[in-house]
Symmetry: C2
């Protein structure tokens, strides 16, 4: 990892919008397929037939594809394009539906709502404890950045207060304190009734190389980087 | 959550094996599609055409499907069927390739190897910090169970020592201590060179209702439950 941390997109604003619409719809369709194949009870013959067709579509998509991961690009209007992100990437079917949307309130608290359906299961009917940690890492990182102290996660502590049922899960994060390159952020998950199910605390540290990095200086928002 | 925590499968051993082969292959194909669509650079027309075909396959799978999540079933031979599990479920495309395989060494340490490719990206080229937490929660829970003290995650602390590059990630977990219904497990992630990148500590607590639950008593292996 060095200062060539991300690349600059060559897309125009219109091209970026068109790309996002087309490839975003592809990811949405793939996410729905992932859910459908998890829950399907079609017979073996039909399951095998669908499997073969999925394989054929995969080959079509692979006929022209980049080799590695998407990374993070800075697009037109300095828009951050981290579309591969595992939690909220536009092109990542593993990212929860709706996770690309966030709001920031007047206190600089970050709010997200995650749709955590059957694909996010751990104990029967419940969100996997690791999935709660996954989305909270993302949320706290963004909260640190929005609150003024971006950085990479150095430590993350999750307290599981009660089970989180599968379904709509609310999330809120905020900065607790900042000192030099270190920021402590806190956050919670809430179930559909608004009850807090999980609490988290994260320590985020700005790498020393990043202090001199113009992208970090210009854009103090860690949602770019995680 | 109550003592009706999971259900009993009615499948015979042969039926279970056949089901796992067919639906496991469907999940594998879907996982590959998810990776291919993330990295594809086919033009918009082709991407739209593939999207439409994915939608059609999804409808075929939905024509006969269970309503909710898969939960956990106890199959023939007391085999645990938690195929929906977000980290290692056989039918879950979000679960990393190969994550269904684990080994237990003579010291009762649990070892897994995760293939964390572009779909697991956080910072450019690196495993998302939340993904590290996700797989470590699963691993530590299993380690607690294998070491003798199964339970639900009560607290999870992750220390990020250095970035974890995308690719093959090794994982090892073990029991640190057990006291009554509480077990502390520890674990690490290692990069392809064997260097430790992430360390974790988890507190696992056996719910009081589970103490009387025959499945918990007979099968002291939390890999069942997470």
């Amino acid at each position: 990892m060095d200062a060539a941390f991300y690349s600059r997109s060559t897309l125009t604003e219109d091209e970026a919008r068109a790309d996002d619409e087309v490839y975003g719809a592809l990811a949405d369709a793939t996410r729905d397929l992932a859910d459908a194949q998890l829950r399907t009870q079609v017979d073996h013959e039909e399951a095998r037939a669908v499997t073969a067709e999925i394989r054929a579509l995969t080959e079509r998509l692979r006929s022209k594809a980049r080799e590695g991961a998407l990374g993070t690009e800075i697009g037109p209007g300095r828009q951050v394009r981290n579309h591969g992100n595992a939690v909220m990437g536009l092109r990542n079917p593993f990212a929860s539906t709706g996770a690309t949307v966030r709001t920031i309130d007047e206190d600089r608290h970050v709010h997200r709502s995650f749709e955590l359906g059957p694909l996010y299961e751990g104990p029967p009917g419940l969100v996997h404890g690791g999935v709660s940690a996954l989305v909270l890492d993302q949320l706290l990182g963004e909260s640190a950045a929005v609150g003024g102290g971006p950085g990479m996660t150095a430590r993350l502590t999750i307290h599981y207060r009660r089970p989180t049922p599968l379904g709509t899960v609310g999330a809120e994060g905020w900065v607790d304190s900042t000192e030099g390159r270190k920021t402590i952020a806190r956050g919670v998950l809430r179930d559909a009734d608004g009850a807090t199910t999980v609490e988290a605390e994260g320590l985020f540290v700005l790498p020393s190389w990043a202090e001199d990095h113009p992208e970090w200086q210009r854009r103090h928002d860690r949602s770019t980087f995680e």
